[in-house]
């Protein structure tokens, strides 16, 4: 309920704001004056890519201009983001779909050529996907507490989809907070990691919700907790880690978020036009259906709030990366 109120409030406020703006500058040549480029800092086919193409499709209808998706993958998302940070003549019409890689990348990659906070303006967080702490069906552990107690005694393994992914960092965060013995086992993507989990080769994982939801429902995996602040409507019986309360887990709130950012030279006008359009996109039936398919919640924060969120995330992952010895 709370969430719903804040979203509508936000949408309404920005709506009013934009209304005023458009009336005042109706005759002038309004932004956008050119095609908009949506940069995806990952290869085609991933969640970021699929989401971006969906958003581009809807945004195109709202803004009545072409929105062209461009993949610029490399080194976490830092290659594509680094290019955006450099600005250039297209920067006024370029947006980028950022994700946890944006804040984690700052912690992991040395000599990053940009500042993940100051070089950008933050438009809108589009969706939040919770991670789920899952164990194989054959695992003896029925609850988080049982698992933590066992992991304090013996060495456990957790699978992840690549160094610096939100799945990896969630595992490292869990390890740090609960002071347990856990070893990270890397896989090339969630697709490769899943069989190891299903087959019981690894003890636990902090996978993205959409990857494991069907396996939880079919009983092949057991969900011990979700990592979001509130319980997920897809798994209403599964507690949040923060709910557990013990072992410092009340600090464990993290989601895989996906949000749009732009270069800090992005004009005020463009920001407000964009935010208004995005708010409309997020109310569309197609968008909500899509989010539901991903097991995701529509994003909550935009503008300044989004920025504050990013600042907090950068700080947190920096600490976790240093603890885990993966910052170079």
């Amino acid at each position: 309920m709370n969430k719903f109120l804040s979203t509508t409030c936000l949408a309404a406020c920005s709506g009013v704001l934009i209304l005023g703006m458009t009336v005042s500058s109706a005759s002038a040549n309004e932004w956008p004056t050119d095609d908009i480029r949506l940069v995806v800092p990952y290869a085609p086919g991933g969640t970021t890519d699929v989401l971006s193409r969906r958003v581009a499709d809807l945004l195109q209808q709202e803004l009545d201009t072409n929105v062209i998706v461009e993949n610029r993958p490399g080194a976490g998302s830092t290659v594509g983001t680094g290019r955006l940070a450099r600005g250039g003549r297209d920067a006024g019409h370029t947006i980028l779909m950022a994700s946890p890689g944006h804040t984690i990348g700052a912690a992991i990659y040395p000599d990053l050529s940009y500042d993940p906070v100051e070089d950008f303006v933050f438009l809108q967080n589009m969706i939040d996907i919770p991670n789920v702490m899952v164990v194989p069906a054959s695992s003896p552990y029925e609850s988080v507490i049982e698992f933590v107690e066992a992991a304090q005694e013996e060495n456990m393994t957790f699978s992840h989809s690549g160094v610096g992914s939100s799945i990896h960092m969630s595992g490292e965060l869990f390890k740090t907070l609960t002071d347990t013995n856990m070893t990270a086992v890397p896989f090339a993507g969630s697709g490769a990691a899943l069989p190891a989990l299903l087959g019981g080769d690894v003890d636990v994982s902090f996978e993205n919700m959409p990857t494991v939801l069907s396996h939880i429902r079919s009983g092949d995996l057991r969900a011990l907790a979700v990592t979001s602040a509130e319980r997920s409507e897809y798994l209403p019986d599964v507690p949040t880690l923060a709910e557990i309360g013990e072992h410092n887990l009340d600090q464990f709130i993290t989601t895989a978020w996906f949000g749009l950012i732009a270069h800090n030279s992005f004009s005020e006008e463009a920001q407000s036009v964009m935010q208004e359009a995005l708010a409309k996109v997020m109310e569309r039936e197609e968008f909500l259906d899509f989010a539901e398919q991903l097991g995701a919640e529509p994003g909550q924060v935009s503008g300044e709030e989004f920025k504050q969120f990013i600042i907090a995330e950068v700080e947190r992952w920096d600490g976790v990366a240093q603890q885990a010895g993966i910052s170079q």
């Binding site: 290659v79 697709g191 069989p195 197609e286």
Partner: protein, 498 residues
């Protein structure tokens, strides 16, 4: 089947047929352009499927996938430029055949073996999905490790000419594959602070550079020869030749099916394993690599056998085996379907309609492929002085398009020079490629096994699958040694007599 009529109703809609046909055509065309891969085409087509019916949407993507698998072989054969990584193996014999004036025969062989392999793969998907999925789930890191070890032994059989040079090429390939971020610790290896190298060396520029560019360099270094206007496209494939290749094709398809059912191995490895297996068994062993029909058939059967089988872990477990199936998984989810055991209970008629569509796509591939050959084989008649500059342009555009970065164009040229040096020093490029593909898999699975087993080495012999692959690996090395020694002895005998 109780709901047979429902299946028919879902399948027999015009949309589905258009989707399949369109998909295969797009796949063949895109797959044949160097640098534009089937993966890219599937990803780009995805947004268009949002508004389609679920079956038509999936079939469009599957059609592109299958068309792309075949399309890659066209340019591999005609201009030594593999359109997709999986067709790199096809050019080993396909290009020499085209050079000898048998372009059409090579293309036909590739098409027929692709279609047959595709068909076998589909049958496996429909009838043995549950069984194969179970095998796939038992394939953990240690099993993978031994599979890779076994696959590495095929380098020995591909090292035509000098064994030392073949192994050397493989080692260099492994070394280059290690450039980038380490998978376990995230430490940088040989990146020299360059961001472009952090995600390791891109495969497509390497592939184009290694095979296509040396041909071009060679052409401009050599003395200009007048273009002989021969009927270069040549005759088609005789039925007797196809019959001769049949066992190879079937065996290659089965290899493809098994490799495809295991998530994360990929069509490229399947093609090479099938190729080396065919070479080992063939009476024309000496002709492999010089334009052997069976070589083309084996390579194409191997990589197309994978296509249907990668759908097995996807549909029955919800696990995507490669990037393309990951995108197809995305398409399922967009339409509110979640592949996995539950889908077989809830949407059985939809799955059967999909199966019918996938079967039908093999037929479409045959038709589209035949038309494609008719026009593409004309490329073989174009004088090289006109063809090669245009090929180079495609190579540059394609290399750039992979990551939208000029760095990859540099990389492609660097590998072109390396490939040229390899040619001059008679170092075979195929083992280099295998090393490059398998190197990281070898290391990752070794370390993954150690992590899972808490540094206990007994994990490497934990079950029958590992034992089987250890036996195969040892047997394969033993056989190679035996052949090597007996060949030496024979050579000495001949020398003594002389």
């Amino acid at each position: 089947m109780e709901n047979f009529s429902e299946v028919i109703a879902i399948f027999f809609s015009l949309d589905n047929f258009i989707a399949i046909a369109l998909g295969v055509v797009i796949g063949v065309v895109v797959g044949s352009i160097p640098g534009l891969t089937a993966t890219m085409a599937v990803a780009l087509a995805l947004p268009f499927t949002f508004s389609m019916q679920p079956v038509a949407a999936i079939l469009l993507l599957v059609g592109i996938y299958k068309g792309g698998m075949y399309g890659g072989s066209i340019t591999a054969i005609l201009i030594r430029t593999p359109g997709s990584p999986a067709s790199a193996c096809t050019l080993l014999d396909g290009y020499p055949m085209a050079q000898q004036g048998h372009a059409k025969k090579a293309l036909k062989t590739a098409l027929y073996s692709s279609v047959i392999a595709d068909f076998i793969s589909n049958i496996a998907l429909i009838f043995f999905a549950a069984y194969l999925a179970k095998i796939a789930l038992n394939f953990g890191a240690p099993e993978f490790f031994w599979l890779i070890c076994f696959s590495l032994t095929i380098i020995i059989s591909l090292a035509s000419g000098s064994m030392i040079k073949g192994l050397m090429a493989a080692l260099l390939g492994i070394l280059l594959s290690l450039v980038g971020l380490d998978e376990v610790f995230g430490s940088q290896r040989f990146t020299f602070g360059n961001y472009n190298l952090m995600d390791s060396i891109s495969f497509i520029p390497l592939l184009i550079g290694l095979f296509a560019i040396p041909e071009i360099i060679e052409f401009y270094r050599k003395k200009a020869l007048p273009h002989i206007k021969a009927k270069a496209s040549g005759a088609g494939l005789a039925f007797s030749e196809l019959k001769r290749c049949m066992t190879t094709i079937v065996r290659g398809s089965l290899i493809g099916v098994i490799i495809g059912a295991i998530p994360g191995t990929g069509a490229t490895a399947a093609a090479f394993i099938s190729y080396s297996d065919a070479r080992r068994r063939s009476p024309n062993k000496a002709n492999f690599g010089k334009g052997e029909v069976e070589g083309v058939a084996a390579a194409e059967a191997g990589n197309n056998g994978v296509a249907g089988a990668t759908m097995i872990p996807l549909l029955s477990l919800g696990i995507p085996g490669d990037v393309i199936t990951a995108i197809i998984l995305g398409a399922f989810m967009v339409h509110g379907l979640t592949p996995g055991p539950i889908m077989f209970q809830e949407n059985l008629s939809l799955i059967y309609a999909l199966f019918m569509g996938i079967m039908f796509s093999s037929v479409v591939l045959l038709l589209v492929g035949n038309v494609a050959i008719k026009y593409f084989s004309l490329i073989a008649d174009i004088p090289k002085s006109i063809l090669f500059p245009i090929v180079l342009m495609f190579c540059v555009y394609g290399a750039y398009a992979v990551n939208n970065d000029t760095f990859d164009v540099w990389l492609m040229l660097a590998f072109g020079v390396l490939g040229y040096i390899f040619n001059r020093a008679a170092i075979p490029a195929a083992p280099f490629l295998i090393g490059f593909i398998l190197g990281p898999m070898f290391e990752d699975n070794l370390r993954r096994s150690l992590l899972i087993g808490h540094n206990d080495l007994s994990i490497f012999v934990r079950g029958p699958i590992t034992w089987a692959f250890i036996a195969l690996t040892v047997g394969s090395i033993g056989l190679a040694l035996y052949r090597f020694i007996s060949a030496r002895r024979e050579a000495r005998n001949i020398a003594d007599k002389a």
